[in-house]
Symmetry: C3
Subunit: 333 residues, 3 copies
């Protein structure tokens, strides 16, 4: 699997930056990136998530797997949606949850990140769920935590958002079954998207039949084709015969000036309207990691239409996060 | 029961806006307004609350009724007091609680209210407790949630605050017993008070002997008499022979300019002092939904005096909210 | 035990301000200050904490001692670290925890402190953990709460931080065993430190062999020697033959202008470097209540070095706070 695409964004890592995700026995300890998981671990996570989905469906949604364990949501960048799904996943495993928003607390007292980490760790935290605006932050934390602590990457800069990619794979598998015959298109701002990076690694690992990215030249990285991705700049060509369409969120906050003409122009060329959806296979499903900008990336009638599985992605996110938490804490269901 | 008083504030509702509160079997599903509950449901809620009060009194205050259910406090307007009582009520029923303050989170990413709702719902939330500055917000949400989700109105604009009215009725019943022989006076800023609106509906439904409102012309709505309420502008006349005095909070933040002369003038005419309290029955009780403005609506010696039941209202609020939560989730104690 | 040092800071208290900490049967009810606990209660707390440390070490970290009880963190001054340790301690005892930050909530509606207290109390809270920028705040609250409520002081102004002193004593006892032969030095800004005040009372009560304070004249109170403390203004002399070095955090936010020359100058004279550490006993331990200002109070190599027990202090803080909570709620382990 090629890595040129991702490696430049992780500062000063060892040769195999993903090796740190496993303990000496080869068991998953941290989830920082999709790279290095391979089809075996990805499939194990999806299978475990399938078991947990029944927990969310029944009246009493809790299992006692992580009772007495402490999960700390360490958010350096606020994200109510992501934090909430991790919090719910942890609570449904019966863990205690601490929410720590670090932009507004300890750092104002001049503590360094490492001091903060060490202190929370010393309170016998068992897992850190980390969201950070800088690429590589979760890796950095994983390299420095105590041996008993697991780290989950809940999004770091442009780099990775592995649980999002896993819940997307899970959602596709639930609906489409086998990955091998599928054509999947990822549309929009691939350049600034940690979600797209993680999806590409996951779908490659799962041997998706054909993987496409569609978007304007300014929002598609130059070095992406070695990853086994076909690049399209035209929606009609890109969507032809596609089974799964994944719309990305425009990451305007991460763009330098001039990359994007106007939102109206973007919508005209790449926004997923009912008309453009007609260019894909009739049973194509529509995905979006949320929150969607209606009228920019996607037409409301498509987001709320019969081919959209956007809300199923959210529901599936709970089960997938429960699976990752349980597996990383060596507590398979 | 007349409704002219309330209806103009709810935007575009069906003919019986309260019918949405019940499921197809006639069971209470949402609590949005007191209207439409009728004496049967109000009494059932008060009776259930009576059972739960013993839970709060015993050493282990928890019952497992809502174990594994997720209650989401969706506050678009901050209110630590109200949020806290709903949070405690949910925790004492063993539910998991998520607090989401929406002025500072998802809405900053441009998500619409409906998208936010759908997303939280997709995380398998079972109940939304909604506080919003706009009248009709809880109704709007109840019309759009998934069938398994219950919505509780924790205060919407000028419209309604039904759990407050229920806890007030509960407090009165615990002390005075039967409602039929009682004279109840609601004093102050009736015009801007969602609490007063809900109280009037509740007391009418419970057949309170006589219901009065007292206040300056500028703070009493013109169309209130059809609701079966006697209007007084003079405190001495209004408090004569009264069993229950409910002081309202001045809602200065909801007033347009010029409605209120000065706080000193308001206190002189309508502030409940020991002297004015003497005009009511000797065993009259004094209530206030809190937080009270001492020296504006009420004299401190009255608020802390032997006839005040203000703190009992707070305690009773936990039991009443437990009752509403349990009943709406079809989990009668 | 002399008290001139502390008494001026507590406004208008009765002759024995610490007597309020005990109920009529002489059982510990509140923890407001170390004064008045005596060696018996301090030792009982440390022994109970020792039992609880095994709870934090085992896989399921919870004990059901406070199941169904409600602990309210009432923070008038934000402190994520302290709040978090109390929250974890309460959760590991299976209590329900409410976090209320009062600078941003009820007080903005003009409620007085007492009204806020009475309201939260009426929600059947069982314990208040209070952090306040004013000395005496926790005493004030303890004098006014309902009989069933316990109050823990989590730091009040310059006055006291009793759980910090207890966890420091606990940490020392775990490593050094007996207190009688020990020489302990407290270094830095003693004048503005509630931690130092509480430590001095604790170590005197536990009959520490020799207690020293070291710092510039401007940061050592004049009336401290009657407390049985030896004062040093020179680090080399002060650290000679010392077993325990406690570095204090510079409380710049509580200093009036001119007390401190510059941080560089302070570090040169009193910052704990490897060189200065060499002046103490070879097996001396280094402590800091955190968060440490590296390069001001302490050199990084010392903070992270083999003699530092700073992170053990944090871990021990959970056990000590569990012990205090359990004892004050009459629930000895």
């Amino acid at each position: 699997m090629a890595v040129n695409f991702v490696r430049p964004m992780i500062p000063k890592l060892a040769t195999d930056p993903w090796a740190i995700q496993f303990d000496a026995q080869g068991h998953l300890k941290h989830l920082l990136t999709i790279e290095g998981l391979g089809p075996t671990w990805i499939t194990r996570i999806l299978d475990t998530a399938e078991n947990f989905m029944s927990v969310s469906d029944r009246e009493i949604k809790k299992v006692p797997l992580l009772r007495g364990r402490t999960v700390v949501n360490l958010f350096f960048e606020s994200s109510t949606r992501t934090r909430t799904t991790f919090e719910l996943a942890a609570k449904r495993l019966s863990a205690d949850v601490l929410n720590i928003n670090l932009s507004t607390s300890a750092t104002t007292k001049g503590e360094s990140l490492l001091d903060t980490l060490r202190n929370i760790e010393a309170m016998q935290a068992d897992m850190f769920v980390v969201r950070h605006e800088q690429s590589g932050a979760a890796h950095f934390i994983a390299r420095h935590v105590a041996p008993h602590v697991s780290v989950l990457n809940a999004g770091d800069g442009w780099h990775a958002h592995p649980t999002q990619a896993l819940l997307d794979a899970f959602t596709i598998r639930r609906i489409k079954g086998d990955f091998a015959p599928l054509r999947i298109a990822i549309v929009g701002d691939v350049k600034h998207s940690r979600v797209a990076r993680s999806q590409i690694h996951a779908f490659n690992s799962l041997n998706v039949g054909e993987l496409r990215v569609i978007g304007p030249r300014t929002l598609i990285p130059n070095d992406i084709e070695p990853l086994g991705v076909r690049v399209f700049h035209d929606m009609r060509q890109g969507l032809k015969d596609v089974d799964v369409i994944i719309m990305l969120r425009l990451q305007r906050e991460r763009m330098e000036g001039g990359l994007l003409p106007t939102e109206q122009e973007f919508y005209r060329l790449y926004g997923l309207t009912e008309e453009k959806l007609g260019w894909a296979k009739p049973d194509a499903i529509v995905m979006h990691p949320g929150p969607a900008n209606r009228g920019v990336e996607i037409e409301s009638r498509v987001a709320d239409g019969p081919q959209s599985v956007i809300l199923e992605q959210v529901s599936n996110g709970i089960g997938v996060r429960m699976a990752v938490m349980a597996l990383c804490m060596s507590a398979e269901s």
